[in-house]
Amino acid sequence: MTENVGDVALPNRWRRFAEWDARPLRLDKFAREDAAHGFSAFRSPADPKPGIGIAAGKIAAMDGVLAHDFDMIDAFIARHHLDLSVAEEAMAMDSGLLARMLVDMNVPRTELVRLSRGCTPAKLADVVSRLNALEIAFAYSKMRARKTPGNQAHVTNAKDDPLQLAADAAIAVAYGFDEVETTMRVSRNAWSNAVACAVGAAVGRWGVLFQCSSEEAEELRIGMAGFTSYAETVSVYGTEKSFTDGDDTPWSKGFLTAAYASRGIKMRCTSGAGSELLMGFHEAKTLLYLEARCLCLQRGMGVQGTQNGGIDGAPLTATVPGGVRELMAENLIAVWLDLECASGNDARTSESEIRVGAKILPYLIAGSDLICSGFGSIPAYDNSFNPSLFNAEEMEDYLVLQRDFEADGGLTPLAEHKALDLRTRAVAAISAVLEELGLATPTADMKASVIVASGSAETRSFTPGEVAPISDAIKERDITVIDVIKALAKRGFAEEAENLLNVVKLRVSGDYLQTSAMVRQGRVISAINDPNDYSGPGSGYAMTEKRRHQVNDIRDQLDQGEVLRSEAQFEKAEARRIAYHATGSAMVGVAGDEVVIGISPAFGVKLFQTTAGHKLSDVLRVLVDAIAARGLRARVVRLRHTADTSFLGLSAARLSGSGIGIGIQAKGTAVIHAAVRLPHNNLELFSNAPITKLEHYAGLGRNAAAYALGEAPEPVIVPTRGEAMGSRYHARVAMIYAIETGLIEEGAAPHEIDLTFMAAPR
């Protein structure tokens, strides 16, 4: 319905909604809470009440189901997860009390872990659902198994190009990722991808664990050939129908868990909210309860850890009210059950950068065994798993978040000059392996295109079809990691050969099969020798001073020396355009046709351009000319007792015969003042120097003259488009201002300045 206001017809919509429609957020879909159809994070009438019945030393009932009605999941949990020595004690405890214990720094993690072994899925869900998001994050920080946080990268590309995989794996290693995961666009390329990433991950340092996500039997074979060191694709589900629809059972997956360990390969399972909903077998139960079942299953199977927190179901879960809180809650159950947790934050849950940043923050602050179970270290379009929450595009945002919160997100800034060296080395290493093993002969052009490329759209290298025969040959010729190590060494890559050998040697002792194991500085650390011992402020993980400096050392930081160096570059050029002659103390003017321009202490002395980049000579020239255009005269004085804009302006006005003065700082902030006004009650203020153009300074001069002539001009407005001036300029501004205040002399009299403009070449 269109309303009229008087004779004016109104459109039927407030335009703000159209603006909101255009924001990336509106690409996200939001589902109404609907427990009957599986769209509920925490509340559903179909969820069972927590409960346990024990008779004759056996479980007779669990969460409202009698033993003879147990489905496969109940049966597995009852037999393999529940510890009868603690079940009655834990189940008799008030859920509210357990919730409080989770956030009580005085209750040790070990005590809570002991109790978790007696909790049924419904009990675990009931307890953690009582915590708000902040409490969940805190409890997660206290309960995670290993003290030192880590992170995992995805390294893939849209062409399955081995040269690019090697280069990108080396980069991921340099950024500090503890694990690298690859997969492929074309499944038969798995072997080539595995070799390429294994070689790339051996550049620079050793210890990054590597996996190649592929079909279960193939993945295990690749592992046995020594190219991979861990796996995380063993999925479990929270309903029986989803499980069998996924073509597995708790026993088939439990068997596979033992099989991986028997080959010395680290393994974690995968589960996450939303998978049962996506598969259509949710039984109207909540996302959290179904995930609690998955996690109890995993502990029962004896797997050391889990990749959970939505994973492929995370984007769906995030559409539900409380969905993001649910993802945190399920991660908390994982660590409460003493599992290593690769805490999701992989599949991108939103098109909104604000939702993405908000999603990662609790994990960044709380820490996690692997904060992302796949940070896309490559551009979003090259991610063969689908775009991650964070991708190469957002790498520096993540690094800055670490620095902002002094939180160790597992990554270390990479100096620009090191990146090309690493890529060159990695491409040379994988090329040597391909040649040495007679698999392919990359050309110089292929290599060069990959080294500088940000993503596969820019490369002239292998296509998926060209990779397939390479991959087939690796598989069919039974090439193993030993062949690759020999090839590297033969071609002069001894360091990489040694690094690769060290990773394979991990499997002999099996130390890295323990919970939450990773390799740091050549040592296996895990929940055994690096247990999370948080017990309040000053305990638990803290960055060392060295680590803090690493995290802080992002690209392009400013300091005063840097500001002075950049100003010094302009000094000589300005000296050819303008000369400032101090001719003595400035007197109070008597001529009514003058406007005094009061410049700041460092103006043209140590600072030579405004924050908008205008030469100070140009700014003074347009001011002087604009005043002259109204038939008045500009007189310039240098104020030496203050650098404050208001007082520059007021002091200038008090020296001015007309009573009108202009105050201007070297950074370009300016004011028109009148001698009769209070210090901060100026006539016009030009506070946004970074967006103030020469035409605005001309308007400033023109209006100052108009005030001197007794007119009431329209004030000059410097239009802003809402730029975050503070974030863009304040660090520099504060440093510049310190240079100004450093020249202030208490009580120093203003100097009269004669300006000479020179027609120097620009």
Partner: protein, 140 residues
């Protein structure tokens, strides 16, 4: 010999001479030089049942009974050929076995031929549940 505990971890650091690959080569003897000399095979880079039992003891000492049990099951699989491992995994998937007896036969194979009682029990347990939950049906 007393059981290992968390203080013995990581074994590669506390007893590098005692850690050996499948052919008996000590971990400390596996070097780039010995690889290049052709002395190292993939078997030398394979975990042994002993190493898994050691890790099971450490996991048990850390209070992780289920993880320890998995390491013990894994120890039983160390010398089981890859094809049998994979075909057993396949057999445990829904609808692959057509009756309880197929799984019981496989369990017996593990128990008798590979001295793998834990794995055998695990398969028998699956057979009972699969029977009760109707998994021995043909899946299209």
């Amino acid at each position: 010999m007393s059981k290992l505990g968390v203080q013995d971890y990581p074994l590669a650091e506390t007893r590098p001479g005692a850690i050996r690959g499948k052919r008996g080569m000590a971990l400390q003897d596996i070097t780039l030089a010995s690889v290049l000399a052709g002395e190292v095979t993939m078997a030398d880079l394979q975990i042994t049942a002993k190493a898994l039992h050691d890790q099971a003891e450490i996991a048990g000492d850390a209070g992780r009974a289920t993880l320890a049990l998995n390491f013990a099951r894994a120890a039983e699989l160390v010398d089981v050929p890859q094809e049998l491992v994979m075909s057993t995994y396949e057999l445990l998937r829904p609808g692959r076995a057509q009756c309880k007896q197929e799984l019981h036969d496989r369990a017996a194979l593990f128990r008798q031929q590979y001295s793998a009682p834990l794995i055998a029990d695990f398969i028998v347990e699956a057979a009972d549940i699969y029977d009760r939950r109707g998994l021995f049906t043909y899946r299209f």
